[in-house]
Amino acid sequence: MNILSPVGNPDEVAPLVEAGADELYAGLFPQGWYERWGRGSWPNRRGPGPANVETMDDLGRLADAAHKGKVPLFVAFNQQYYPDDQADFLLDIADQALARGLVDAFIVTDPGMIAALKEAGATVFASTVAVALNADSARFLSELGADRIILSRHLHLAEIKELAEAAPDLDLEVFLMNDNCYFEEGFCSTTHSMPGFGVYCMTPWELQVTEDETGGGITEPEERARWDFLVEEHREFLRHLGSRGHGEGKLKMPLGPCGLCAIPELMDLGIHSGKIVGREANLFRKIRSVQAVRYIRDAYRDSGDMRAAKGQAVEMRGDGPGCSSGYSCYYRSARDRSLIPLPPRPRGPRRPRSR
């Protein structure tokens, strides 16, 4: 399984390749975009700043560095949709990049854009935002021209197995580290490009639960207690969807959503690439993430000992409470409870029991 790492600028390439990145992906926030479409619209799923390079020259330097390191460079054109003027603008840039041999593949959501880039001679990966939850969806996107299918973050290992076995000829990519979405990304119609508003799914909602039959609140005390408990736990879960600082292991690993202990199973399924999320992250976070994935991948490849590899994953992460709760897991079923060093979390209210 290849390690796909985010990259933000040419200086990051060499350390990431040295850490173990086999593939790199970047974003492009082209000059002229702001002038034409303002601050409320982004050309990809990340905003301006460290998540994106801005000019063709920057992209050229990034590609040169990647290719010098013998790793391919992919670029995200992964917005859910592009009106014609934006698509024309980006396709013109894609043509220039392809003519100069800068981009080895584009990561794309919009089916019309996938087809247009294929016509232009590009290699195209179907973004997770395109939503492939089953083998037929993956096949559909492949028939459209996608050379790789990036699966949903929310598939269970068993579901990935079913999909992979039904489509053994397709290159599949999965998420491994750092950021999760609450909703299925392709079915989230909210935008992160609203300055001052934050992320919709992280809103500290006040939740009011009503019974449909009566239109009123929950009156039965035990049911009420269960809802109160669930709402508290839900807040805790939301806290785990993003970064939570650093682990207690030797690596001081950045603690975000994680699929480290699922790597052995994913390798057995023949998954082509494992993605580390976070183009905008600092280089330390990127390097540590690549190192961690590489360590587990190589350990399992060399030993074939799944249990040992999982144990190493838990130890390296150094996040006993997080591993114990499972709320940071991409693939919760991959956990081996006997390897998790801490008992269940002592915090929070107890889950009400049935009478």
Binding site: G40, S41, P111, A116, F183, S189, P195, T203
Partner: protein, 300 residues
């Protein structure tokens, strides 16, 4: 259904002529093939057309989808939220209709609260009032894929005129904000290992409960107890800043801010009052909107 639909839009849209049956956003709520057959018969008795709604699904739920498709008359409209289901509907001889989830559109309910101060003077981007259908390449893709119709929501910020060439059906009064397989409601009463992961099986507590969501950004006039969130005209209550976890908003009964609704794994907004009337008028005036799908209740 007819009576409540007429309530919603004051009867402006005339009598119903088609039944939409099924579910768009949760594979655990799919009706059985027997339910589909019964619903078909119900529609046929009344001389109504019949459209099947289908959700996004994992591999394990493709066989039930096949059973539903087999229970339909050839050429039935099948609304798809999944590329794989589209493929299967086409192969089964039905007419694929692109669902509102796969017709990508910015449906962020916060957009009406965005002012020039948030965008530092920039105009709101035109893309906020367009969706996938605004792309000629997407329309060409639809044609190649045998999609004969597109469904969409009217977002709170409104829509630009739609391009011609593809018939459109509009859902009213509920619009989908976001959906996903991680379902808080499904987690109700479940042990830790099964909370906040996509459920493999579900007892569907969403059939009993609805969750209303209230947030500070849904108000612009917080009064003396508020502090500016970004700049004048957009406020967050001071108590909310001091304690973001609970009891931070004004008394619910006295709060005119809009609520958003969670039914199962999906968040919805509801068009009401002037917004609903404007959306209905927009749909009626649009040369490409030839159908309104009335939702008498949350569409889950």
């Amino acid at each position: 259904m007819e009576d409540r639909g007429e309530d919603v839009l004051g009867g402006a849209l005339g009598a119903p002529s088609r039944l939409y049956f099924g579910v768009e956003f949760c594979q655990h709520l799919m009706p059985t093939a027997a339910d589909v057959a019964e619903a078909r018969a119900w529609a046929e008795e009344r001389g109504w057309g019949f459209t099947m709604l289908t959700p996004y699904v994992t591999d394990a739920f493709l066989p039930p989808v096949d059973e539903q498709l087999a229970a339909l008359a050839p050429g039935t409209e099948v609304v798809v939220e999944d590329w794989g289901v589209l493929r299967r509907a086409r192969a089964a001889g039905h007419l694929p209709v692109l669902g509102r989830g796969l017709h990508r559109l910015t449906r962020d309910p916060r957009l009406p609260d965005v002012g020039p101060e948030h965008l530092r003077g920039d105009d709101p981007p035109s893309s906020w009032q367009q969706g996938s259908l605004g792309s000629r390449r997407f329309r060409a893709f639809l044609k190649r894929s045998g999609v004969g119709r597109v469904h969409l929501d009217v977002p709170l910020q409104g829509l630009s005129p739609l391009p011609e060439g593809v018939p459109v059906a509009v859902h009213l009064p509920y619009g989908m904000i976001a959906s996903g397989r991680i379902c808080m409601v499904s987690s109700w009463g479940k042990p830790a290992s099964q909370r906040f992961v996509p459920p493999r099986h579900c007892d569907a507590p969403c059939r009993r409960f609805t969750v209303a969501l209230r947030a500070p950004w849904s108000r612009r006039d917080g009064g003396a107890e508020s502090v500016p969130l970004v700049s004048d005209g957009s406020f967050i209550p001071l108590s909310h800043v001091l304690n973001r976890r609970r009891n931070a908003l004004p008394e619910a009964e006295a709060d005119p801010a809009p609520r958003f609704l969670q039914k199962g794994n999906t968040h919805f907004y509801r068009l009401e009052g002037d917004a609903l009337e404007q959306a209905a008028a927009w749909a009626q005036e649009s040369p490409v909107v030839d159908r309104v799908v009335l939702e008498p209740d949350l569409p889950m």
